[in-house]
Each structure stands twice: as structure tokens, then as C-alpha cells.
């Protein structure tokens, strides 16, 4: 997993001096107990709950007493159609939002690294939604996408296009939320790609231009391969966010209509609310497995040619 430590820009220079006598004497000036406060927090509030979760997922649990029921929670998780659909949606949502952020982020980064008019303004507005409350954005877009009064359908209707119920049509709800997720998150993808593109030495572009390469050839053979570390970062970051995402879905649809926009994270919340703590924790374990099962190979694939920090 250390392989995820790739940089879109050149990593800062590490001072790599040999372990001379002065260096080893310095060791005592970097006390190991500096780790203790952080480790204490990490163990108590993160590691213990995570490992305890593996046990509680196997129980019927009310916080006060617990009955061991083996894998019943998991069996239920993969038999109950609404829980299974939440499982499938997690993948769909994660992959679609991640892919869209990569494509749009790269396109915007290309635009914003070219000498385009109003570049500073464009960078600022594309990035700003990243900083805004997800719940606030969910509420705003719920109004904008309202099937009858919303602006989006107002515009579509006025030019004679179909006006679907973006958040009320079971076939569309998940994808509408995903689109808003992309709207909110594309700014960070763009900035990472910009950092990656800016770090490419200018000589390559100049040499290619002297050789008469077209814009497309330059993109295909220089920009794209050399911004690969940035692309890896964008993919990893947006997959982690996408697979775990909860706030936006909860604010916009609450997992509905029915359970057509439920993901694992919203299933976990619903089961928690309903008092099925064991089942909710099983959902957490499933999410843990899904995220690690995807992130470990993905980050390995994306980083295998990069040196480790």
C-alpha cells in the first residue's frame, strides 16, 4: 500500500546522508514517544473499532448484549434484494464518478494550462464547489433538479427536450446524484492534473512542436503518458471517495426512490437507525472488504513503475 505514495509533482528532496556517528547520536533527539499521542487516538478510535467490527458483524447486537449468530448477517446482506442492490450501486457509483472525474478533469486541466482567456477565474470557479458543504450542494441541486419547477427541466422543456424526474425516476436517481458528485469533485481532479501537466518539462513540448507534431500527437504522446502519476492520484482519490460516499446521496434522495439509489454506506446508516447493529456492522465489514479489494490492486497497478518514497 505504500505504493500509493506517488506524487503528481516531483517529491521533495529527501536528505539522504549515511548513518555516520553524528547521525546515530542524533537519533535520541527524535524521541519515539512523539508517536504516542497519535497512536493512542488511532488505536482507541480507529483500530479497536475496526477490529471489533469483525466480531460484532457476526452477532445480533444491541450495544448492551450480543448473540453470536455466525455469518447470518452476511447471508442476509447478500440475500435481501435491497441490500444487494446497495452493494451493486456502490461499484457503479464509484466507477462512474471516478471515470467521469478523470475524463473531465483532464479535459479541464488541458484547457486551463493553455493560455486561455480568464484562466484564473476559471480555475477559481471550477475548484470552489470542492469546499462547499455537501449537504448544502445536495439541497441546492435537489431544487434545481425538481421535476416540475426545477430550472434544469425548465430549460430542457423550453427547447423541447424530455424532462425526466431526475431524482424520482428509479432508473435515473443514482446517476443524477453521481452527476452532482462529479460537479462537486471535478475541481480537485482538475487541479491535480494541472499540477501534473505543469511539472512536465517544457523542452518536450518545444521539441515536438519543432518537429511539427499536431496538438493531438502532443497530447497522445507527451501530455497523457507523462501525467500518468497525476491520473493515478485522481483515480485513487475519487475511487476512495466514491465507494464510501454517503452525504450527497443522503441529502438528495435518502437512497430512494425505494432503494434504487442506496449504496453500502447508506445501508449501514439505515440498518443502524433501525437498530440492527450487527447487520449494520456487517455492512461496514463488507464496505471495508470492497474498498481494500479495489484499492490495493488499483494502487499497485497505477504505481508499479514509480519509485516508492
Amino acid at each position: 500500500m505504500t505504493a500509493t505514495l506517488t506524487t503528481a509533482v516531483a517529491p521533495p528532496q529527501t536528505t539522504k546522508a549515511g548513518p555516520g556517528p553524528a547521525r546515530s547520536r542524533m537519533r535520541s533527539f527524535y524521541p519515539a514517544w512523539f508517536f504516542i499521542p497519535a497512536i493512542a487516538l488511532y488505536v482507541v478510535f480507529f483500530a479497536v473499532p475496526t477490529f471489533a467490527g469483525f466480531w460484532f458483524a457476526l452477532t445480533r447486537w444491541t450495544l448492551f448484549d450480543q448473540t453470536f449468530i455466525g455469518f447470518d448477517n452476511f447471508v442476509r446482506f447478500f440475500q435481501d434484494p435491497q441490500l444487494v442492490s446497495g452493494f451493486v450501486h456502490t461499484f457503479e457509483y464509484g466507477f462512474v464518478t471516478s471515470a467521469a472525474k478523470v475524463v473531465l478533469g483532464l479535459a479541464l486541466a488541458l484547457l486551463l494550462t493553455s493560455p486561455v482567456l480568464g484562466r484564473g477565474y476559471l480555475r477559481a470557479v471550477v475548484f470552489f464547489p470542492v469546499l462547499v458543504s455537501t449537504i448544502g450542494i445536495g439541497i441546492t441541486f435537489k431544487a434545481l433538479l425538481d421535476p416540475f419547477h426545477g430550472i434544469v427541466n425548465g430549460i430542457l422543456g423550453s427547447v423541447g427536450l424530455p424532462t425526466p424526474g431526475w431524482l424520482t425516476d428509479p432508473a435515473l436517481a443514482l446517476w443524477s446524484v453521481a452527476a452532482v458528485d462529479v460537479w462537486k469533485g471535478v475541481g480537485i481532479a482538475t487541479l491535480i492534473f494541472i499540477a501534473g501537466i505543469v511539472a512536465i518539462p517544457q523542452e518536450y513540448f518545444e521539441a515536438a512542436r519543432v518537429d511539427g507534431a499536431s496538438a493531438w500527437t502532443i497530447f497522445r504522446n507527451i501530455t497523457l503518458p507523462l501525467s500518468r502519476p497525476a491520473m493515478g492520484t485522481v483515480i485513487i482519490l475519487s475511487l476512495i471517495g466514491g465507494l464510501r460516499s454517503f452525504d450527497l446521496i443522503w441529502a438528495m434522495t435518502g437512497g430512494g426512490p425505494g432503494f434504487t439509489s442506496d449504496v453500502i454506506a447508506s445501508v449501514i446508516y439505515k440498518q443502524y437507525q433501525a437498530g440492527f447493529y450487527g447487520l449494520s456492522t456487517a455492512g461496514n465489514v463488507v464496505l471495508f472488504v470492497v474498498v481494500t479489494a479495489i484499492m490495493v490492486p488499483v494502487s499497485w497497478l497505477l504505481n508499479r513503475k514509480e519509485p516508492e518514497l
Binding site: P12, A22, A38, P49, F56, A143, L144, Y269
Partner: protein, 292 residues
């Protein structure tokens, strides 16, 4: 990090190039599209916040016939049950408390982790990355909080937020400490500084740029966090601003103007930070992202 912040043009200006007209056209199109796609939603929030209840319910992208922004703001602040003032105080306490802990604890870890080569560093790095990737187990965390009598307390919530932010901060601090020459430490030690003074007196002040970045990025993250307070800090007296927003949405269908006034209010703090600290925030988000 400077490579990220340096927003220099990637391609040198192509003067006397026939593409000048095209560049203008693309620029104008991009500005118009960006206005529609990225600014209209925010303008919509502002308009909604200035309307009467009846007008707001129509959800139109129209100027309010009667600007009521001030009345709406007053109504939001005065509505007793929703307690927006209290929520702002709660959010502020949560943000300041957790970011303070995060910064100090993770600066200590990032510093020693970078400076002191050791057998355990690999393991620690692994857990740092695990902290970024692994989703927290919800109900077991509540179970731990209850065991410590911290469930539904601001103190517990602060510790939770601090814990969840540690990994990100450690990575930023470790990368930045690598840019500080070790010779500086040695000089301080020769001058008689002990480990504590070396860190808090010499190194920590040098970390100022990355501390600013970490504080900004994590403040925005904690302030905007919805899911964690939802789970670990229930109860109306503890509600953060994000919670009031959600509660507002579920109760008052007939008061969309007040709902959007609330949205407007919670958008202002990040906006102000962004206006003043755009460079640092962007640097932190991308370099942090870059490490993720």
C-alpha cells in the same frame, strides 16, 4: 509543494500565432459555460434566500419581487428550535478543537517518522495509509465511545474528528519535514537544545507554511462534515451547522426561503477562507491528494 502552487502557464505564450482568435473564442465559451454550470447554482441559492416563502416554493431562477434577505436572515437566527447560533458555536468548537489536536499530534509523528529511520517506520506508514483508505466502522466506534462515556459529548466528537484527520496531516507534515535540512537540527543540538526544544522551538516554527495549509484544509473538512456528527454526536443541543441544515430540510417544506438562507450562511465561511487563502488551500488539497 511549491511546484503545485506555482501556477505558471504550461505552454509558453504563442505570439503571432494564428490561434489567437480561436483562443479568444474558446475562452469566451469557457467563461459562459462555467458561469452557467458553476455559478448559477450559487446565484440560485442567493436568490432563494432573498425570496418570500411563496416565491421560494416556486423554485424559479427569477429575481425576488421583494428582497427579503435581511428578514430571512433574522428569521433563521431567531428560530429558537433550530438554534443556528448554537449550531455555529458547536461547529466552531468542534473545528478548532479537532484541528488543534490533529496539527500538534501529526506534526510530531510526521517529524519523527521522517527524521528517524527505524524498523517500525514501514509498519507506521502502512497504518497511516490504512487510515486514509479504510472506512471507519460506525457502530463499533459508538460502542467504544460509550465505553469511555464520550458518546454524545463534544469532547468525544473532537477526538473522533482528530483521529480521522491524522493520516492526511501526517503525510503532509512528513513530506514537508523532508525539505528542512537536517543540519539545522544538528546545529540546534550543538547549541544545547534538547529533543523537546528542538521540535517545539526550532522545527515547529519552520513548519508554518504547511501548518497553515493543514489548518485550512482540515477546518473546511471538519466544518463541512455531516456523517460523523450524525453518528457520533446526535441530539439537538449538539447539532452542528450541517445537522441543522439537514433537519431544516426534513421539517420545513413550506419554508424553502429559510432553508436556502441557511445554505447561504454555511457557504460563507469556506468562501471567505477561499478568497483569502486560495493558494494555500489549493496547495494543501492537491499535495494532500497527491499523497493519497
Amino acid at each position: 509543494m511549491s511546484a503545485v502552487t506555482a501556477a505558471r502557464p504550461a505552454t509558453p505564450a504563442r505570439r503571432r500565432h494564428p490561434g489567437t482568435v480561436r483562443r479568444w473564442v474558446i475562452g469566451v465559451v469557457a467563461i459562459v459555460v462555467s458561469f452557467v454550470v458553476f455559478l448559477v447554482p450559487f446565484v440560485f441559492v442567493l436568490l432563494q434566500a432573498a425570496k418570500s416563502p411563496a416565491e421560494a416554493n416556486q423554485l424559479g431562477f427569477t429575481l425576488p419581487t421583494d428582497w427579503q434577505l435581511w428578514q430571512n436572515l433574522r428569521a433563521v437566527f431567531q428560530s429558537g428550535e433550530s438554534g443556528i447560533v448554537r449550531a455555529f458555536v458547536n461547529s466552531a468548537v468542534l473545528t478548532v478543537g479537532s484541528v488543534l489536536i490533529m496539527v500538534v499530534f501529526s506534526a510530531m509523528v510526521g517529524y519523527v517518522l521522517q527524521r528517524r529511520p527505524g524498523r517500525w517506520n514501514g509498519l507506521i506508514n502502512f497504518f497511516v495509509l490504512a487510515g486514509l483508505i479504510v472506512p471507519p466502522a460506525i457502530v463499533p466506534t459508538i460502542w467504544v465511545l460509550q465505553g469511555l462515556n464520550l458518546f454524545k459529548t463534544m469532547g468525544g466528537m473532537i477526538l473522533i474528528e482528530a483521529t480521522f484527520g491524522l493520516s492526511f496531516c501526517i503525510l503532509l507534515f512528513r513530506a514537508f519535514v523532508a525539505t528542512i535540512p537536517k543540519e539545522l537540527d544538528e546545529a540546534a543540538v550543538l547549541d544545547g537544545a534538547g529533543p523537546i526544544r528542538l521540535f517545539f522551538g526550532v522545527v515547529l516554527p519552520l513548519l508554518k507554511p504547511v501548518i497553515i495549509t493543514v489548518v485550512l484544509v482540515q477546518s473546511v473538512a471538519v466544518f463541512n462534515d455531516f456523517a460523523n456528527p450524525l453518528y457520533f454526536l446526535p441530539g439537538s443541543e449538539n447539532a452542528t451547522v450541517q445537522q441543522t441544515l439537514y433537519a431544516f430540510q426534513s421539517q420545513s417544506v413550506s419554508q424553502l426561503n429559510l432553508l436556502f438562507t441557511d445554505v447561504l450562511l454555511i457557504t460563507i465561511p469556506p468562501l471567505v477562507l477561499y478568497v483569502f487563502f486560495q493558494r494555500q488551500i489549493v496547495a494543501g488539497m492537491t499535495s494532500g491528494a497527491v499523497k493519497g
